[in-house]
Amino acid sequence: MLKLSGDKLRVAVVGFGKMGILHAGILNVLPKVQLVAVCEKSGLIRRFMKNLFRNVSVVDDVDELSDLDLDAVYVTTPISSHFAVVKSIYNLEVASNVFVEKPLASNYDEAEELCDLALRLGGVNMVGYMRRFSATFRKAKDLLNQKVIGEPVSFSAYAYSSDFFGIDENSKVHTPKIGVLRDLGCHIIDLALWFFGDFKVNNAKIDSLIGGDSEDSAFFEVETEGGVSGKFDVSWCVDGYRMPEVGFTVEGSRGVLRVNDDKLELSLNGGERFRWFRHDLRDGVGFWLGAPEYYREDECFVEIVMRGGSVEPCFETSAKVDRLIDEVLVRAGRVE
Protein backbone atom coordinates (compact mmCIF):
# COMPACT_ATOMS: atom_id res chain seq x y z
CA MET A 1 0.00 0.00 0.00
CA LEU A 2 1.60 3.26 -1.10
CA LYS A 3 1.65 6.23 1.29
CA LEU A 4 1.61 8.90 -1.42
CA SER A 5 1.67 12.65 -0.75
CA GLY A 6 -1.18 13.63 -3.02
CA ASP A 7 -0.34 11.52 -6.03
CA LYS A 8 3.41 11.59 -5.38
CA LEU A 9 5.67 8.81 -4.20
CA ARG A 10 7.44 9.65 -0.93
CA VAL A 11 11.13 8.83 -1.37
CA ALA A 12 14.28 9.09 0.78
CA VAL A 13 17.92 8.82 -0.25
CA VAL A 14 20.38 7.16 2.14
CA GLY A 15 23.99 8.27 1.55
CA PHE A 16 24.62 11.68 0.01
CA GLY A 17 27.83 11.11 -1.93
CA LYS A 18 28.03 11.62 -5.69
CA MET A 19 25.50 8.91 -6.55
CA GLY A 20 23.08 10.00 -3.82
CA ILE A 21 23.21 13.59 -5.03
CA LEU A 22 22.71 12.48 -8.63
CA HIS A 23 19.67 10.32 -7.88
CA ALA A 24 18.20 13.00 -5.59
CA GLY A 25 18.53 15.55 -8.42
CA ILE A 26 16.76 13.29 -10.90
CA LEU A 27 14.08 12.07 -8.49
CA ASN A 28 13.21 15.62 -7.56
CA VAL A 29 12.23 16.48 -11.13
CA LEU A 30 10.19 13.33 -11.73
CA PRO A 31 6.59 14.53 -11.54
CA LYS A 32 5.45 11.50 -9.54
CA VAL A 33 8.09 11.81 -6.80
CA GLN A 34 8.49 13.88 -3.66
CA LEU A 35 11.97 13.80 -2.13
CA VAL A 36 11.08 13.63 1.55
CA ALA A 37 14.33 12.88 3.37
CA VAL A 38 18.05 12.43 3.07
CA CYS A 39 20.06 10.27 5.46
CA GLU A 40 23.80 10.92 5.73
CA LYS A 41 26.38 9.77 8.28
CA SER A 42 28.82 12.65 7.83
CA GLY A 43 28.04 15.44 10.29
CA LEU A 44 29.78 17.98 8.07
CA ILE A 45 27.69 17.15 5.02
CA ARG A 46 24.52 17.04 7.16
CA ARG A 47 25.19 20.51 8.54
CA PHE A 48 25.47 21.97 5.07
CA MET A 49 22.50 20.02 3.76
CA LYS A 50 20.24 21.44 6.43
CA ASN A 51 21.03 24.88 5.05
CA LEU A 52 20.59 23.66 1.50
CA PHE A 53 17.17 22.02 1.61
CA ARG A 54 14.04 23.69 2.85
CA ASN A 55 11.45 20.93 2.67
CA VAL A 56 13.57 17.82 3.02
CA SER A 57 14.33 16.14 6.37
CA VAL A 58 18.02 15.54 6.97
CA VAL A 59 18.78 12.67 9.36
CA ASP A 60 21.86 10.71 10.38
CA ASP A 61 20.45 7.23 10.85
CA VAL A 62 18.11 4.93 8.96
CA ASP A 63 16.05 4.51 12.19
CA GLU A 64 14.93 8.11 11.85
CA LEU A 65 13.33 7.39 8.49
CA SER A 66 10.80 5.00 10.07
CA ASP A 67 8.27 7.69 10.96
CA LEU A 68 8.26 9.40 7.57
CA ASP A 69 5.72 7.19 5.78
CA LEU A 70 8.09 6.49 2.92
CA ASP A 71 7.12 4.61 -0.20
CA ALA A 72 10.66 3.98 -1.43
CA VAL A 73 14.28 4.34 -0.36
CA TYR A 74 17.39 4.77 -2.51
CA VAL A 75 20.54 3.32 -0.95
CA THR A 76 23.64 5.06 -2.29
CA THR A 77 26.05 4.49 0.59
CA PRO A 78 29.53 2.96 0.12
CA ILE A 79 29.29 -0.64 -1.13
CA SER A 80 30.58 -2.13 2.11
CA SER A 81 27.57 -0.73 3.97
CA HIS A 82 24.82 -1.79 1.54
CA PHE A 83 24.09 -4.98 3.46
CA ALA A 84 23.61 -3.33 6.87
CA VAL A 85 21.65 -0.38 5.50
CA VAL A 86 19.26 -2.42 3.34
CA LYS A 87 18.74 -4.91 6.17
CA SER A 88 17.81 -2.07 8.53
CA ILE A 89 15.41 -0.60 5.97
CA TYR A 90 13.57 -3.91 5.69
CA ASN A 91 13.72 -4.83 9.38
CA LEU A 92 12.52 -1.41 10.52
CA GLU A 93 9.88 -1.38 7.77
CA VAL A 94 11.12 2.01 6.60
CA ALA A 95 9.76 1.28 3.10
CA SER A 96 9.00 -1.82 1.11
CA ASN A 97 10.40 -0.56 -2.20
CA VAL A 98 14.19 -0.38 -2.28
CA PHE A 99 16.68 0.74 -4.91
CA VAL A 100 20.36 -0.02 -4.20
CA GLU A 101 23.27 1.39 -6.18
CA LYS A 102 25.40 -1.32 -7.78
CA PRO A 103 26.62 -3.80 -6.69
CA LEU A 104 24.01 -5.22 -4.33
CA ALA A 105 26.48 -6.29 -1.61
CA SER A 106 30.10 -6.94 -0.66
CA ASN A 107 29.80 -10.69 -1.21
CA TYR A 108 27.34 -13.35 -2.26
CA ASP A 109 26.36 -14.39 1.29
CA GLU A 110 25.20 -10.86 2.02
CA ALA A 111 23.47 -10.56 -1.36
CA GLU A 112 21.60 -13.84 -0.78
CA GLU A 113 20.39 -12.70 2.64
CA LEU A 114 19.12 -9.44 1.14
CA CYS A 115 17.29 -11.40 -1.56
CA ASP A 116 15.59 -13.54 1.11
CA LEU A 117 14.54 -10.45 3.05
CA ALA A 118 13.22 -8.74 -0.08
CA LEU A 119 11.26 -11.83 -1.05
CA ARG A 120 9.76 -12.17 2.42
CA LEU A 121 8.81 -8.52 2.80
CA GLY A 122 7.63 -7.86 -0.75
CA GLY A 123 7.78 -4.60 -2.64
CA VAL A 124 9.84 -3.63 -5.66
CA ASN A 125 13.60 -4.05 -5.47
CA MET A 126 16.19 -2.94 -7.98
CA VAL A 127 19.95 -2.56 -8.29
CA GLY A 128 21.52 0.38 -10.15
CA TYR A 129 23.14 -1.35 -13.09
CA MET A 130 22.32 1.68 -15.20
CA ARG A 131 24.04 0.48 -18.38
CA ARG A 132 21.01 -1.74 -19.03
CA PHE A 133 19.27 1.60 -19.70
CA SER A 134 21.95 2.92 -22.05
CA ALA A 135 20.87 3.43 -25.67
CA THR A 136 23.80 1.46 -27.12
CA PHE A 137 23.58 -1.57 -24.83
CA ARG A 138 19.79 -1.73 -25.18
CA LYS A 139 20.16 -1.80 -28.96
CA ALA A 140 22.82 -4.51 -28.62
CA LYS A 141 20.47 -6.58 -26.49
CA ASP A 142 17.72 -6.20 -29.11
CA LEU A 143 20.07 -7.28 -31.92
CA LEU A 144 21.30 -10.26 -29.93
CA ASN A 145 17.70 -11.28 -29.15
CA GLN A 146 16.86 -11.03 -32.86
CA LYS A 147 19.86 -13.29 -33.60
CA VAL A 148 21.14 -10.74 -36.11
CA ILE A 149 24.65 -12.19 -35.69
CA GLY A 150 23.27 -15.72 -35.42
CA GLU A 151 24.12 -17.79 -32.35
CA PRO A 152 26.77 -16.18 -30.12
CA VAL A 153 29.96 -18.24 -30.07
CA SER A 154 32.29 -16.16 -27.92
CA PHE A 155 32.66 -12.69 -26.45
CA SER A 156 35.24 -10.45 -24.89
CA ALA A 157 34.35 -7.64 -22.49
CA TYR A 158 36.31 -4.76 -21.01
CA ALA A 159 35.74 -2.20 -18.27
CA TYR A 160 38.44 0.46 -18.10
CA SER A 161 38.96 3.77 -16.36
CA SER A 162 41.92 6.09 -15.81
CA ASP A 163 40.84 6.83 -12.24
CA PHE A 164 44.10 5.46 -10.82
CA PHE A 165 46.34 5.62 -13.87
CA GLY A 166 49.84 6.79 -12.98
CA ILE A 167 49.25 6.43 -9.23
CA ASP A 168 51.99 4.73 -7.24
CA GLU A 169 52.19 3.19 -3.80
CA ASN A 170 53.49 6.38 -2.18
CA SER A 171 50.64 8.53 -3.43
CA LYS A 172 48.05 10.02 -1.09
CA VAL A 173 45.40 8.73 -3.43
CA HIS A 174 43.70 5.57 -2.22
CA THR A 175 41.90 3.00 -4.30
CA PRO A 176 38.54 1.84 -2.94
CA LYS A 177 39.06 -1.17 -0.66
CA ILE A 178 36.19 -2.94 -2.36
CA GLY A 179 38.43 -3.51 -5.40
CA VAL A 180 38.12 -2.93 -9.12
CA LEU A 181 35.85 -5.91 -9.74
CA ARG A 182 33.01 -4.75 -7.51
CA ASP A 183 33.57 -1.07 -8.28
CA LEU A 184 33.86 -1.23 -12.09
CA GLY A 185 33.89 -4.83 -13.29
CA CYS A 186 30.41 -5.55 -11.95
CA HIS A 187 28.93 -3.62 -14.90
CA ILE A 188 30.24 -6.01 -17.54
CA ILE A 189 29.38 -9.05 -15.48
CA ASP A 190 25.80 -7.78 -15.20
CA LEU A 191 25.63 -7.01 -18.93
CA ALA A 192 27.05 -10.43 -19.81
CA LEU A 193 24.39 -12.08 -17.63
CA TRP A 194 21.76 -9.98 -19.42
CA PHE A 195 23.11 -10.79 -22.88
CA PHE A 196 24.05 -14.46 -22.51
CA GLY A 197 22.55 -15.88 -19.29
CA ASP A 198 24.41 -17.43 -16.37
CA PHE A 199 28.01 -18.64 -16.59
CA LYS A 200 30.81 -20.21 -14.62
CA VAL A 201 34.34 -18.91 -14.13
CA ASN A 202 37.08 -21.14 -15.58
CA ASN A 203 40.18 -19.19 -14.58
CA ALA A 204 41.07 -15.78 -13.21
CA LYS A 205 44.01 -13.50 -12.49
CA ILE A 206 43.99 -10.38 -10.33
CA ASP A 207 46.87 -7.91 -10.13
CA SER A 208 47.88 -5.14 -7.77
CA LEU A 209 49.29 -2.46 -10.05
CA ILE A 210 49.46 0.27 -7.44
CA GLY A 211 50.94 -1.86 -4.70
CA GLY A 212 49.98 -3.32 -1.35
CA ASP A 213 46.96 -5.56 -1.51
CA SER A 214 44.96 -3.28 -3.81
CA GLU A 215 42.92 -5.08 -6.46
CA ASP A 216 43.53 -2.98 -9.57
CA SER A 217 43.08 -5.21 -12.59
CA ALA A 218 41.40 -8.51 -13.27
CA PHE A 219 41.31 -10.90 -16.19
CA PHE A 220 39.09 -13.97 -16.24
CA GLU A 221 37.58 -16.48 -18.63
CA VAL A 222 34.10 -17.94 -18.41
CA GLU A 223 31.72 -20.29 -20.14
CA THR A 224 27.97 -19.73 -20.27
CA GLU A 225 25.34 -22.42 -19.72
CA GLY A 226 24.70 -22.23 -23.47
CA GLY A 227 28.37 -22.98 -24.27
CA VAL A 228 29.47 -19.42 -25.16
CA SER A 229 33.03 -18.70 -24.05
CA GLY A 230 33.87 -15.26 -22.69
CA LYS A 231 36.85 -13.17 -21.57
CA PHE A 232 36.74 -10.22 -19.20
CA ASP A 233 39.38 -7.53 -18.77
CA VAL A 234 38.93 -4.96 -15.98
CA SER A 235 41.24 -2.17 -14.82
CA TRP A 236 41.09 1.31 -13.34
CA CYS A 237 44.71 2.05 -14.30
CA VAL A 238 44.37 2.43 -18.08
CA ASP A 239 45.39 5.65 -19.82
CA GLY A 240 42.87 7.45 -22.04
CA TYR A 241 39.66 6.68 -20.15
CA ARG A 242 38.71 10.01 -18.60
CA MET A 243 35.27 8.54 -18.06
CA PRO A 244 34.89 4.84 -17.21
CA GLU A 245 34.00 2.86 -20.33
CA VAL A 246 32.73 -0.65 -20.82
CA GLY A 247 32.37 -2.61 -24.01
CA PHE A 248 31.80 -5.98 -25.64
CA THR A 249 32.85 -7.74 -28.82
CA VAL A 250 30.51 -10.63 -29.55
CA GLU A 251 31.37 -13.19 -32.24
CA GLY A 252 28.33 -14.94 -33.64
CA SER A 253 27.73 -17.57 -36.31
CA ARG A 254 26.65 -14.85 -38.76
CA GLY A 255 28.74 -11.85 -37.78
CA VAL A 256 30.36 -9.72 -35.11
CA LEU A 257 28.80 -7.10 -32.84
CA ARG A 258 30.88 -4.45 -31.06
CA VAL A 259 29.29 -2.20 -28.47
CA ASN A 260 30.47 0.28 -25.89
CA ASP A 261 29.05 3.30 -24.06
CA ASP A 262 29.27 5.49 -27.18
CA LYS A 263 28.53 3.34 -30.21
CA LEU A 264 27.46 0.01 -31.66
CA GLU A 265 28.96 -1.64 -34.75
CA LEU A 266 27.75 -4.65 -36.64
CA SER A 267 29.75 -6.61 -39.22
CA LEU A 268 27.85 -9.39 -40.93
CA ASN A 269 29.53 -12.31 -42.65
CA GLY A 270 28.11 -11.22 -46.00
CA GLY A 271 30.14 -8.01 -45.77
CA GLU A 272 27.41 -5.66 -44.60
CA ARG A 273 28.47 -3.08 -41.98
CA PHE A 274 26.30 -0.95 -39.72
CA ARG A 275 27.17 1.66 -37.11
CA TRP A 276 25.04 3.54 -34.62
CA PHE A 277 26.07 6.35 -32.28
CA ARG A 278 23.92 7.53 -29.40
CA HIS A 279 22.63 10.20 -31.79
CA ASP A 280 20.99 7.48 -33.88
CA LEU A 281 19.36 5.63 -31.02
CA ARG A 282 16.77 8.02 -29.61
CA ASP A 283 18.84 8.84 -26.55
CA GLY A 284 16.59 11.68 -25.38
CA VAL A 285 15.24 11.89 -21.84
CA GLY A 286 13.07 14.25 -19.80
CA PHE A 287 15.96 15.53 -17.69
CA TRP A 288 19.68 15.12 -18.23
CA LEU A 289 21.93 14.70 -15.24
CA GLY A 290 25.10 12.59 -15.45
CA ALA A 291 23.93 10.47 -18.37
CA PRO A 292 20.53 9.68 -19.91
CA GLU A 293 20.60 6.16 -18.51
CA TYR A 294 20.32 7.38 -14.91
CA TYR A 295 17.09 9.18 -15.72
CA ARG A 296 15.63 6.13 -17.49
CA GLU A 297 16.63 3.87 -14.62
CA ASP A 298 14.97 6.09 -11.99
CA GLU A 299 11.91 6.63 -14.13
CA CYS A 300 11.57 2.86 -14.59
CA PHE A 301 11.87 2.13 -10.85
CA VAL A 302 9.30 4.80 -9.95
CA GLU A 303 6.85 3.61 -12.63
CA ILE A 304 7.00 0.04 -11.38
CA VAL A 305 6.57 1.09 -7.75
CA MET A 306 3.49 3.14 -8.72
CA ARG A 307 2.04 0.44 -10.95
CA GLY A 308 3.16 -2.68 -9.11
CA GLY A 309 5.12 -5.57 -10.53
CA SER A 310 8.79 -6.38 -10.75
CA VAL A 311 11.71 -4.73 -12.46
CA GLU A 312 15.11 -5.82 -13.78
CA PRO A 313 17.79 -5.93 -12.58
CA CYS A 314 16.17 -6.98 -9.30
CA PHE A 315 18.07 -8.16 -6.20
CA GLU A 316 17.90 -11.81 -7.27
CA THR A 317 19.38 -11.10 -10.70
CA SER A 318 22.03 -8.81 -9.26
CA ALA A 319 23.03 -11.31 -6.57
CA LYS A 320 24.41 -13.43 -9.42
CA VAL A 321 26.95 -10.67 -10.11
CA ASP A 322 28.12 -10.87 -6.50
CA ARG A 323 28.30 -14.67 -6.77
CA LEU A 324 30.42 -14.48 -9.92
CA ILE A 325 32.76 -11.87 -8.41
CA ASP A 326 33.26 -14.19 -5.43
CA GLU A 327 34.05 -17.01 -7.89
CA VAL A 328 36.63 -14.83 -9.65
CA LEU A 329 38.25 -13.93 -6.33
CA VAL A 330 38.46 -17.62 -5.39
CA ARG A 331 39.85 -18.65 -8.78
CA ALA A 332 42.44 -15.86 -8.56
CA GLY A 333 43.46 -17.03 -5.10
CA ARG A 334 42.38 -13.80 -3.44
CA VAL A 335 39.98 -15.54 -1.04
CA GLU A 336 39.52 -19.18 -0.03
Binding site: G17, G240, N260, F277, H279, V285, W288, L289
Partner: protein, 300 residues
Protein backbone atom coordinates in the same frame (compact mmCIF):
# COMPACT_ATOMS: atom_id res chain seq x y z
CA UNK B 1 36.89 39.33 -35.64
CA UNK B 2 33.31 38.18 -36.08
CA UNK B 3 30.60 40.23 -37.62
CA UNK B 4 26.90 40.64 -36.88
CA UNK B 5 27.65 40.71 -33.16
CA UNK B 6 27.77 36.90 -32.88
CA UNK B 7 30.50 35.84 -30.51
CA UNK B 8 32.63 33.05 -31.97
CA UNK B 9 34.45 31.10 -29.29
CA UNK B 10 37.03 28.35 -29.32
CA UNK B 11 35.84 25.52 -27.06
CA UNK B 12 38.28 23.61 -24.87
CA UNK B 13 37.05 20.01 -25.06
CA UNK B 14 39.82 18.80 -27.43
CA UNK B 15 42.41 20.36 -25.10
CA UNK B 16 41.18 18.05 -22.34
CA UNK B 17 41.17 15.07 -24.71
CA UNK B 18 37.38 14.97 -24.79
CA UNK B 19 35.19 13.80 -27.63
CA UNK B 20 31.49 13.50 -26.89
CA UNK B 21 31.07 11.28 -29.97
CA UNK B 22 33.26 8.58 -28.49
CA UNK B 23 36.14 8.29 -26.05
CA UNK B 24 37.80 6.03 -28.62
CA UNK B 25 37.97 8.95 -31.03
CA UNK B 26 39.73 11.16 -28.48
CA UNK B 27 42.21 8.37 -27.74
CA UNK B 28 42.89 7.89 -31.44
CA UNK B 29 43.20 11.65 -31.91
CA UNK B 30 46.24 11.47 -29.65
CA UNK B 31 47.55 13.91 -27.11
CA UNK B 32 48.74 16.76 -29.32
CA UNK B 33 45.87 19.21 -28.61
CA UNK B 34 46.35 18.73 -24.84
CA UNK B 35 49.79 20.36 -25.09
CA UNK B 36 49.24 23.97 -23.86
CA UNK B 37 51.66 25.47 -26.42
CA UNK B 38 49.87 23.73 -29.27
CA UNK B 39 46.43 24.58 -27.86
CA UNK B 40 47.42 28.25 -27.60
CA UNK B 41 48.60 28.12 -31.22
CA UNK B 42 45.21 26.70 -32.28
CA UNK B 43 43.42 29.48 -30.42
CA UNK B 44 45.69 32.08 -32.06
CA UNK B 45 44.95 30.63 -35.51
CA UNK B 46 41.23 30.56 -34.76
CA UNK B 47 41.32 34.24 -33.77
CA UNK B 48 43.15 35.07 -37.01
CA UNK B 49 40.28 33.40 -38.85
CA UNK B 50 37.42 35.03 -37.03
CA UNK B 51 37.20 33.74 -33.45
CA UNK B 52 36.62 36.32 -30.70
CA UNK B 53 37.55 34.36 -27.65
CA UNK B 54 37.89 31.19 -25.66
CA UNK B 55 35.33 29.23 -23.67
CA UNK B 56 36.90 26.88 -21.17
CA UNK B 57 36.51 24.97 -17.94
CA UNK B 58 38.93 26.41 -15.40
CA UNK B 59 41.58 23.74 -14.89
CA UNK B 60 45.35 23.52 -14.65
CA UNK B 61 45.44 22.74 -18.38
CA UNK B 62 43.39 25.74 -19.52
CA UNK B 63 45.17 28.10 -17.11
CA UNK B 64 48.46 27.01 -18.68
CA UNK B 65 47.00 27.75 -22.11
CA UNK B 66 46.01 31.24 -20.93
CA UNK B 67 49.54 31.71 -19.56
CA UNK B 68 50.98 30.88 -22.98
CA UNK B 69 48.53 33.20 -24.77
CA UNK B 70 49.49 36.05 -22.39
CA UNK B 71 53.23 35.44 -22.71
CA UNK B 72 52.94 35.34 -26.51
CA UNK B 73 50.89 38.54 -26.54
CA UNK B 74 47.86 36.75 -27.99
CA UNK B 75 45.54 37.84 -25.18
CA UNK B 76 44.80 41.34 -26.42
CA UNK B 77 41.00 41.75 -26.55
CA UNK B 78 40.47 38.02 -26.15
CA UNK B 79 36.95 37.46 -24.81
CA UNK B 80 36.91 34.83 -22.10
CA UNK B 81 34.01 32.66 -21.03
CA UNK B 82 35.14 30.63 -18.03
CA UNK B 83 33.21 27.61 -16.77
CA UNK B 84 33.47 26.67 -13.09
CA UNK B 85 34.01 24.30 -11.46
CA UNK B 86 35.70 21.73 -13.68
CA UNK B 87 33.20 19.27 -12.25
CA UNK B 88 34.38 16.01 -13.82
CA UNK B 89 37.88 16.53 -12.49
CA UNK B 90 36.50 17.24 -9.01
CA UNK B 91 34.28 14.16 -9.15
CA UNK B 92 37.30 12.06 -10.14
CA UNK B 93 39.40 13.61 -7.38
CA UNK B 94 36.65 13.04 -4.80
CA UNK B 95 36.76 9.34 -5.66
CA UNK B 96 40.52 9.20 -5.38
CA UNK B 97 40.88 11.37 -2.26
CA UNK B 98 38.35 9.62 -0.07
CA UNK B 99 35.16 11.43 -0.96
CA UNK B 100 33.96 14.99 -0.39
CA UNK B 101 36.02 15.59 2.81
CA UNK B 102 39.26 14.66 1.02
CA UNK B 103 38.42 16.91 -1.91
CA UNK B 104 37.44 19.77 0.43
CA UNK B 105 40.84 19.53 2.21
CA UNK B 106 42.68 19.74 -1.12
CA UNK B 107 40.66 22.75 -2.23
CA UNK B 108 41.12 24.53 1.12
CA UNK B 109 44.89 24.06 0.86
CA UNK B 110 44.89 25.50 -2.67
CA UNK B 111 42.78 28.53 -1.70
CA UNK B 112 44.89 29.28 1.38
CA UNK B 113 48.13 29.03 -0.59
CA UNK B 114 46.69 31.20 -3.38
CA UNK B 115 47.07 34.18 -1.00
CA UNK B 116 43.64 35.52 -1.94
CA UNK B 117 42.79 37.22 1.38
CA UNK B 118 39.14 37.97 0.58
CA UNK B 119 38.55 34.39 -0.46
CA UNK B 120 40.18 33.04 2.72
CA UNK B 121 38.11 35.29 5.01
CA UNK B 122 34.90 34.42 3.21
CA UNK B 123 35.80 30.74 3.38
CA UNK B 124 36.46 30.83 7.11
CA UNK B 125 33.14 32.54 7.62
CA UNK B 126 31.45 29.83 5.58
CA UNK B 127 33.01 26.99 7.55
CA UNK B 128 32.23 28.54 10.94
CA UNK B 129 28.59 29.23 10.05
CA UNK B 130 28.12 26.17 7.80
CA UNK B 131 27.12 28.74 5.23
CA UNK B 132 27.21 27.41 1.70
CA UNK B 133 26.79 30.86 0.15
CA UNK B 134 30.02 32.07 1.82
CA UNK B 135 31.88 28.98 0.65
CA UNK B 136 30.51 29.44 -2.84
CA UNK B 137 31.65 33.07 -2.79
CA UNK B 138 35.11 31.93 -1.65
CA UNK B 139 35.34 29.48 -4.47
CA UNK B 140 34.22 32.00 -7.10
CA UNK B 141 36.69 34.64 -5.89
CA UNK B 142 39.45 32.04 -6.06
CA UNK B 143 38.58 30.91 -9.60
CA UNK B 144 38.11 34.44 -10.96
CA UNK B 145 41.49 35.47 -9.54
CA UNK B 146 43.17 32.39 -11.07
CA UNK B 147 41.74 33.18 -14.51
CA UNK B 148 42.66 36.87 -14.34
CA UNK B 149 46.19 36.10 -13.17
CA UNK B 150 46.80 33.66 -16.03
CA UNK B 151 45.00 35.60 -18.76
CA UNK B 152 46.43 39.03 -17.92
CA UNK B 153 44.79 42.46 -18.05
CA UNK B 154 44.47 42.60 -21.81
CA UNK B 155 42.03 39.71 -21.98
CA UNK B 156 38.44 40.37 -21.04
CA UNK B 157 36.66 38.01 -18.66
CA UNK B 158 33.14 38.54 -20.00
CA UNK B 159 31.33 35.74 -18.28
CA UNK B 160 31.76 33.05 -15.66
CA UNK B 161 29.43 30.15 -16.29
CA UNK B 162 28.36 27.52 -13.81
CA UNK B 163 29.39 24.08 -15.08
CA UNK B 164 26.66 21.95 -16.62
CA UNK B 165 26.79 19.28 -13.93
CA UNK B 166 26.35 21.84 -11.14
CA UNK B 167 23.74 23.92 -12.98
CA UNK B 168 21.66 20.85 -13.71
CA UNK B 169 22.10 19.37 -10.25
CA UNK B 170 20.92 22.63 -8.64
CA UNK B 171 18.12 22.78 -11.19
CA UNK B 172 17.07 19.25 -10.33
CA UNK B 173 17.18 19.91 -6.61
CA UNK B 174 15.26 23.16 -7.07
CA UNK B 175 17.99 25.25 -5.37
CA UNK B 176 16.76 28.63 -6.55
CA UNK B 177 19.00 30.45 -4.04
CA UNK B 178 22.11 29.18 -5.84
CA UNK B 179 20.98 30.77 -9.11
CA UNK B 180 19.96 34.00 -7.37
CA UNK B 181 23.15 34.24 -5.32
CA UNK B 182 25.39 33.41 -8.27
CA UNK B 183 23.71 35.94 -10.55
CA UNK B 184 23.80 38.73 -7.97
CA UNK B 185 27.39 38.04 -6.93
CA UNK B 186 28.83 38.19 -10.46
CA UNK B 187 26.71 41.12 -11.64
CA UNK B 188 28.09 43.16 -8.72
CA UNK B 189 31.59 42.45 -10.02
CA UNK B 190 30.82 43.44 -13.57
CA UNK B 191 30.94 39.87 -14.89
CA UNK B 192 28.00 38.41 -16.77
CA UNK B 193 26.70 35.36 -14.91
CA UNK B 194 26.30 32.32 -17.10
CA UNK B 195 24.84 28.85 -16.89
CA UNK B 196 26.00 25.87 -18.89
CA UNK B 197 23.12 23.42 -19.05
CA UNK B 198 21.93 20.22 -20.65
CA UNK B 199 18.34 21.11 -19.74
CA UNK B 200 17.87 24.38 -21.59
CA UNK B 201 14.09 24.49 -21.74
CA UNK B 202 13.66 23.70 -18.05
CA UNK B 203 16.35 26.19 -17.02
CA UNK B 204 14.71 29.02 -18.97
CA UNK B 205 11.35 28.18 -17.39
CA UNK B 206 12.77 28.03 -13.85
CA UNK B 207 14.86 31.20 -14.14
CA UNK B 208 11.64 32.97 -15.13
CA UNK B 209 9.74 31.49 -12.17
CA UNK B 210 12.55 32.50 -9.82
CA UNK B 211 12.48 36.13 -11.04
CA UNK B 212 16.00 36.02 -12.42
CA UNK B 213 16.17 38.50 -15.26
CA UNK B 214 16.98 36.54 -18.39
CA UNK B 215 18.53 39.67 -19.88
CA UNK B 216 21.23 39.59 -17.20
CA UNK B 217 22.57 36.11 -17.93
CA UNK B 218 24.05 34.01 -20.72
CA UNK B 219 23.16 30.37 -21.19
CA UNK B 220 25.39 27.85 -22.93
CA UNK B 221 23.39 24.89 -24.20
CA UNK B 222 23.45 22.29 -26.99
CA UNK B 223 21.81 23.35 -30.27
CA UNK B 224 22.24 21.22 -33.38
CA UNK B 225 20.26 19.98 -36.31
CA UNK B 226 19.89 16.41 -35.02
CA UNK B 227 18.68 17.38 -31.54
CA UNK B 228 21.72 15.74 -29.92
CA UNK B 229 21.65 16.45 -26.17
CA UNK B 230 18.72 18.84 -26.62
CA UNK B 231 16.55 18.00 -23.61
CA UNK B 232 13.68 17.28 -23.39
CA UNK B 233 13.46 17.68 -27.19
CA UNK B 234 14.72 19.79 -30.07
CA UNK B 235 11.27 21.35 -30.43
CA UNK B 236 11.00 22.34 -26.76
CA UNK B 237 14.49 23.89 -26.80
CA UNK B 238 13.74 25.87 -29.96
CA UNK B 239 10.47 27.09 -28.41
CA UNK B 240 12.26 28.22 -25.23
CA UNK B 241 14.94 29.92 -27.33
CA UNK B 242 12.37 31.84 -29.34
CA UNK B 243 10.77 33.10 -26.13
CA UNK B 244 13.92 34.75 -24.76
CA UNK B 245 13.94 38.55 -24.39
CA UNK B 246 17.29 38.97 -26.17
CA UNK B 247 20.07 36.95 -27.82
CA UNK B 248 21.86 35.54 -24.81
CA UNK B 249 22.45 31.92 -25.75
CA UNK B 250 25.82 30.45 -26.58
CA UNK B 251 25.19 27.42 -28.73
CA UNK B 252 27.45 24.46 -27.90
CA UNK B 253 27.60 20.96 -29.41
CA UNK B 254 26.64 22.56 -32.73
CA UNK B 255 28.49 19.81 -34.61
CA UNK B 256 26.74 17.22 -32.40
CA UNK B 257 30.19 16.10 -31.27
CA UNK B 258 31.50 15.66 -34.81
CA UNK B 259 28.42 13.85 -36.06
CA UNK B 260 27.41 16.72 -38.38
CA UNK B 261 29.27 18.38 -41.23
CA UNK B 262 30.24 21.96 -40.31
CA UNK B 263 28.25 23.53 -43.19
CA UNK B 264 25.06 21.72 -42.19
CA UNK B 265 25.61 22.59 -38.52
CA UNK B 266 26.20 26.28 -39.15
CA UNK B 267 23.18 26.60 -41.48
CA UNK B 268 20.96 25.37 -38.66
CA UNK B 269 22.44 27.81 -36.13
CA UNK B 270 22.16 30.71 -38.58
CA UNK B 271 18.40 30.14 -38.74
CA UNK B 272 17.84 30.27 -34.97
CA UNK B 273 16.75 33.39 -33.08
CA UNK B 274 18.43 34.69 -29.90
CA UNK B 275 21.81 33.07 -30.46
CA UNK B 276 24.49 35.31 -28.96
CA UNK B 277 27.33 33.15 -30.20
CA UNK B 278 28.76 29.68 -30.61
CA UNK B 279 31.62 27.69 -29.12
CA UNK B 280 33.39 25.07 -31.21
CA UNK B 281 36.41 22.95 -30.33
CA UNK B 282 39.28 22.54 -32.78
CA UNK B 283 42.01 19.93 -32.56
CA UNK B 284 44.10 20.61 -35.67
CA UNK B 285 45.46 23.71 -37.39
CA UNK B 286 43.40 22.95 -40.47
CA UNK B 287 40.24 22.77 -38.30
CA UNK B 288 41.07 26.12 -36.71
CA UNK B 289 41.41 27.75 -40.14
CA UNK B 290 38.43 26.17 -41.84
CA UNK B 291 35.96 26.13 -38.97
CA UNK B 292 36.27 29.76 -37.98
CA UNK B 293 36.38 30.98 -41.58
CA UNK B 294 33.12 29.12 -42.13
CA UNK B 295 31.56 30.46 -38.93
CA UNK B 296 32.61 33.99 -39.81
CA UNK B 297 31.23 33.70 -43.35
CA UNK B 298 27.98 31.91 -42.58
CA UNK B 299 27.02 33.68 -39.39
CA UNK B 300 27.59 37.12 -40.81
Amino acid sequence: MSSQGKVLLVGDNPFHGISHLSQERSRVRGDTPTNPEYAARLIGLSVENGADGFMFSVSDTTLLILDVLRKNGNNDGLRLYAIVPYAYEYVRLAGALGGVPGLAKKLVREIVFSGNFRAVVSGLNGVIRSDLASLFKTYLLYEVSRVRRSAGDKAELESVLLHQLITDLCLGLGLDWVFKFYTGFLLKRGITPGFNTGNFALLVKKLGEWDINLEDVVIAAPFNNVGFQMVPSKEECEKALAGLPKPNVLAISILAAGYLKPEEAVDYIAGLPNIKGVAVGVSKERHANETFKLLRDKLS
